[in-house]
């Protein structure tokens, strides 16, 4: 990872993305149960959500920066896992928004079935959302692992160091 930041361009990209994604998640995570972005929701950010927002921001910034490096070096990237992790972190919205009851109602379910099924599904997401956040973190870590491995197996540390040097030279 040290080699990644040898180039100031990549380090700047990482820091910018980290700040941008952390801020986005600090706003998004408390808004998700509401089903729509409500600016005031950031005032109700819990410590757990704040911690996950920072971790998501860090890992997503890292994956994207590594992906950029991999693209430059023609190594394969791990974007599908990143998308999966972002989706897993959005499940909190399945608790309190009308999406679950609406889908169940669209299947033609009667009122007793709706009352039996819909709250149970929504409660599952409400009570277990930290596990989905953890799953997101896990998928992001796998993404980081895959893209790092592909960079190393493709090009080796020597080439990475040279890319860092070239980037520095170009900036100067």
């Amino acid at each position: 990872m040290g080699e990644l930041f040898a180039g100031r361009a990549y380090a700047a990209m990482f820091v910018s993305l980290f700040v941008a994604f952390s801020t986005l998640y600090m706003f998004l995570l408390p808004s998700l149960p509401l089903g729509t972005p409500v600016p005031q929701a950031i005032g109700f950010l819990t410590p757990l959500q704040a911690a996950f927002a920072l971790v998501f921001g860090f890992l997503i910034a890292l994956v994207i920066s590594l992906d950029a490096l991999a693209f430059r070096m023609k190594a394969s990237s791990a974007r599908s896992l990143t998308v999966g992790s972002i989706l897993a972190s959005l499940v909190n919205g399945l608790c309190c928004t009308p999406v679950v009851p609406t889908i169940i109602a669209m299947t033609g379910a009667s009122t007793p079935a709706l009352f039996g099924l819909s709250p149970r599904i929504q409660a599952f997401f409400e009570f277990n959302y930290p596990y989905f956040y953890a799953l997101s973190v896990g998928l992001l870590l796998i993404s980081v692992h895959y893209v790092s491995r592909s960079i190393f197996s493709c090009c080796g540390a020597g080439r990475m160091a040279s890319i860092g040097t070239v980037a520095n030279v170009r900036e100067q």
């Binding site: 408390p30 149960p33 509401l34 089903g35 729509t36 972005p37 409500v38 005031q40 929701a41 109700f44 974007r79 599908s80 998308v83 999966g84 972002i86 989706l87 959005l90 909190n92 919205g93 608790c95 309190c96 928004t97 009308p98 999406v99 009851p101 609406t102 109602a105 009122t111 709706l114 009352f115 039996g116 819909s118 709250p119 149970r120 929504q122 409660a123 409400e126 009570f127």
Partner: protein, 200 residues
Amino acid sequence: MTGALGRMRTKKRGGHRKTAVLVGLLALLVAAGYLVLLPHGQPAGSSGQAAGVSTGTKLGEIAPDFRIQLTNGSNVRLEAFRGHPVLLWFVATWCSSCQVGAQLLSQQYYTRLRAKGVIILTVELYDNLGQPGPPISQFADQFAGGAKQGWLYGTSGQDTTYIYDPNAYLDIYYAIDSQGRILATGAGLPDSPGGIVSVF
């Protein structure tokens, strides 16, 4: 032969990865579209308002009467509030959007609603829709600073929940005018807390 098979497998794996990325992006788009575009509230006038005075839960209809057991132990009927506009809000006390909604209402909109003479009735959905959650009195204390003047909390029967919340939403509200007519309704009060003030 083995090499050809290997290449086919590699191609297949690449295909799976592309499909996974596409499915993921599609799901993300659907989720984003839902969050941004789906209207959660129905302001009066957005659909055909019933001209008559029939009882029901549609816009323009008279809100069906029901009994509420308040947290102070007394019973009151919805009809008792005729003459005042009422914000009737059904919640499941375990749902986080209801908890955030109560905080938003308490901190930012309670004063404005009260200035318009609105009575706020927060009613727990029957048996919290079958899921474990704190009692409505605890919900009130924890998220809205307890009962306030013109803001009452209570529980109601199963029939009331079926009538007012046939789709089993966790959070559904009705804005009712002083004659008992429904002015607006929607799932997810916290989505439009500012909008609800302007309804009255």
